[in-house]
């Protein structure tokens, strides 16, 4: 009964038309042989079946299109990248305009040799920033995160990364501290881990701008059994409760005028690919700690799906 009602509901106009057709025939007292009546009913049934078949095929093709669109991870990412493109382009424009001005400044006779060297060091730093952004976007769109593992002396590596970050922290009047206890080598993808640390530090810097107190950022390392812990501690505003559970999802961003929401997602993907862990503790008004834990067990070249 339900099926009949559903059918009538879907095709009521056609049923009504057929019903009216027979009423008119009877009203006009058209005397047709039985074979003609059978032929009319048969053609109506074929007509109905054709309509049903066309509707079914159309719905199936729409569904197929929707499924193929929704199920392709990469398509979703590329689509979302399009939406985030404005922010990414803005981020790219800043280092590019800095380079342009610095090159113009270096091209005059009015600056000393020391100033020229300092400006060219800044140009190098800005190019590195552009390079980081480009690689991060490429890694994000790729289906696989391929690691280039190498043995890296952790304290020298982190000192180098911190040198890169210090300019921004000093400018924002944030005290930058290092306590690098672990001095041996670990096996990591140097560039990708560098980007993880820079992303967390940049977020920390953004979180430490809204306070009247003298803020502090500390990066420390120590051995924990068969693992190495890198801790990044800030005294910022903390991560808002509304995004805490989704912090490692892509396109989650808050409080940053140009946040693309890719940074922490890539940090998690990078740590997963290393067989490591990323965790955080946060408290409103007190600050946030990010812990990166790398296993010291020997690992082979990895090629892990995200």
């Amino acid at each position: 009964m339900r099926k009949i009602l559903k059918f009538l509901n879907q095709y009521h106009l056609y049923v009504l038309a057929l019903f009216l057709f027979f009423i008119i025939l009877f009203q006009l007292e058209v005397k047709l042989p039985l074979s003609r009546y059978i032929a009319i009913v048969f053609s109506c049934i074929v007509f109905f079946l054709l309509i049903i078949l066309i509707k079914y095929e159309r719905e199936k093709s729409i569904l197929k299109y929707q499924l193929s669109y929704k199920n392709t991870d990469n398509e979703i990412k590329i689509n979302a990248i399009g939406k985030a493109a404005l922010f990414i382009v803005h981020d790219l424009k800043n280092p590019m305009s800095t380079i342009q001005t610095l090159v113009e400044m270096a091209n005059t006779d009015q600056i000393s040799k020391e100033e020229r060297i300092r400006n060219l060091t800044m140009v190098y730093r800005e190019i590195q920033r552009l390079n980081d952004m480009a690689h991060e976007i490429l890694d994000f769109v790729k289906e696989k995160l391929i690691l280039k593992l190498e043995k890296v002396k952790l304290d020298s590596f982190l000192s180098e990364v911190c040198d890169f970050l210090k300019i921004d922290f000093q400018y924002a009047n944030v005290d930058f501290q290092m306590d690098l206890q672990y001095t041996k080598a670990i096996t990591i993808d140097r560039e990708k881990v560098r980007r993880v640390i820079i992303n967390i530090a940049k977020n920390a810097l953004e979180a430490m701008q809204n306070s009247q107190i003298k803020n502090k950022f500390t990066i420390s390392t120590k051995q924990l059994g068969n693992a190495v812990l890198i801790s990044l501690v800030d005294t910022g505003s903390g991560i808002s409760k509304s995004i805490q559970k989704r912090i490692f999802n892509d396109f989650v961003t808050e409080g940053k005028p140009n946040g693309s929401g890719i940074g922490l997602y890539m940090a998690k993907a990078t740590m997963d690919a290393h067989g490591g862990t990323i965790e955080y503790h946060t408290e409103a008004g007190v600050g946030t700690t990010f812990n990166l834990i790398f296993s010291l067990e020997e690992k082979d070249e990895k090629n892990i799906n995200r």
Binding site: K93, S97, T98, L102, M105, E115, Y171, A172, Q209, N258
Partner: protein
């Protein structure tokens, strides 16, 4: 010596502007976001302000709105600087009280000429 305040969250951009303007003979101050910029402006009473638009905590628009209601900042030259060089951004900045708009990238000569012209 005339005082210039640069409100910019990007350290390299602020450093370059600071260098250019110091060479031009100005006393230069910097602020890392709109909020700090408002506080510094009230504290040092600058003769000229450059403010970025997209900044954390408070944007350049916020800074313009909040400073323009104070009597001592109603006629002060405040130039908006932004990597977004579109006409809409310039119009939006002017609508909240910016004296003018300086798109990034800028050449050292343009910055100095602009300040000299306005402050003379």
């Amino acid at each position: 010596m005339k005082k210039i305040l640069i409100v910019e969250d990007q350290a390299p951009v602020a450093k370059i502007m600071e260098e250019i303007l110091k060479k031009g003979g100005y006393e230069v101050y910097t602020a890392v976001n709109g909020q700090v910029g408002i506080e510094r402006a009230i504290e040092i009473k600058p003769d000229f302000i450059f403010t970025d638009i997209m900044m954390p905590v408070k944007t350049g628009y916020d800074l313009l709105k909040e400073l323009r209601v104070l009597p001592e900042f109603q006629t002060l030259p405040i130039y908006a600087i932004s990597a977004k060089g579109g006409t809409k951004d310039a119009e939006a900045a002017t609508a909240v009280g910016a004296t003018g708009f300086l798109p990034k990238p800028f050449s050292p000569g343009t910055v100095l000429e602009l300040v000299k012209k306005i402050l003379s």
